[in-house]
Amino acid sequence: MIVTAYAPLFPLRIAILGARMAWDNPIALGPVPGDPQVIGACTPAAWDDGVRPGTGVGEAMARCAALDLVAPDPDAVRVAVDRVTARLEGLGAAVEPHGGQMWSFAADGLVRLHGGLPVLMRRTRAALPVGCDGRVGAAPTPFPSREAARGGVVVHADEVTGFLAPLPASRLPLAAASHRLLGSLGLRTLGQVAALPHAAVLDRLGRDGERAWLMARGEDAARLSPRTPPEPMEEVMDFPDPVGALPALEVAMRMLIMRICGRATGRGRSVRALVLRARTWDGGSWTSTVALREATADPARVCIACTPRLGRIGAPVTRLASEADAGGPPDAGQMSLVAQPDDERRRRAAAAIAQVRAAEGDAQVLGLVEIEPWSRLPERRWALGPYEA
């Protein structure tokens, strides 16, 4: 049995909580900077006024004059999702988070441990945040389990087909073009999709369509991919004044990455992926995940992958953070066969600086960092930061 916990509109609830607004009002998630100007998820009050996710901002405001837009807070959502995942893992489950508002896990080994499926589901429900309209469902395979969670029901093996049949076909994980094709063929429910001949589905919708067809029949053989609980390393830098200058942010990011790589090397590991997070001066946040082509503990190579992402931050930053898990192999990053002429000099300088740091502390070795060199206020042009060798 697969148990799924569901917190509907979780990212919207987090954003509304952060903005200290009331759920009963017509509110929608605003557009993400750099993305098309359409709104995201919206509250039931906004829905009643005709506002729908994907509507243009202008059209949404025209439909509902009282509509408030809240800035998406992907950073807070990620933290909240991680917290719920960790709570569920505390029950002994190997959890797969799904779409930022669902968490699935196999209950087979846990039912006896917790004294029955109802008790396990009650404890799962208790792991969700209070007031998030959390629901828990269970079914033999992942897709019916996720659908059961929407209604908060348990679907047994012999009930799956009947349970799925009346559900809308839009629930199938298909590309938009395939959904349009289903709509144009007049196929509105999972039952209608399930009734199609196998060969016809394969012909018109390909392998993805075949998988969706199996899901609609309750025969999906997909397995969960639970996450491996990470050992995160996080480095944070606070700015006394909001920083919008890209060069200053790059220097700050380089320092954070050096610390992360240093800690990974200290653990005898390398970094596979990195999450950059920024808290902006208007209270919003920005987050970007950088997956490296190969695991490395070389700060220069990690910086090359991360630097272009900083240009996407849409507002001055008050806090920059970098998080990674040291999941890579220990000997990653050995790329160079021939030593460069300056390597020895750099290595000696780095060793000397490391000794000064060890003897006198980090604050005794500082470097000049450009903040806003064009500023008319001298104190805002430069700052001192930890020296990077």
Binding site: M237, P240, R259, L366, S375, L377
Partner: protein, 85 residues
């Protein structure tokens, strides 16, 4: 988790300045000593960050103090003088 922050340089600090009736600095008292202004190399006005809660309105003087020490001082609209470190 490690937290680090940048340390400011050239942060301005309050200073006592004896000004002429026209507003130009005549002498600066630093380290308990009165140093005459030998020359005013340049002066300019900075109005900045007016869109924030802490707008900036400064009259800057790039001066040379005796015996030849350069200094950057400014006066705020409140009349308080500051010396950039």
């Amino acid at each position: 988790m490690g937290t680090r922050s940048l340390r400011g340089i050239a942060d301005p600090g309050p200073v006592r300045v004896i000004a002429s009736p026209g507003g130009a600095p005549h002498a600066v008292i630093t380290d308990g000593r009165r140093r005459l202004v030998v020359a005013v190399r340049d002066s300019w006005r900075v109005q900045d960050r007016w869109w924030t809660d802490a707008p900036v309105d400064r009259s800057y003087f790039d001066v040379v103090l005796e015996p030849g020490r350069p200094a950057l001082i400014y006066r705020e609209t409140s009349g308080q003088w500051f010396l950039h470190g």
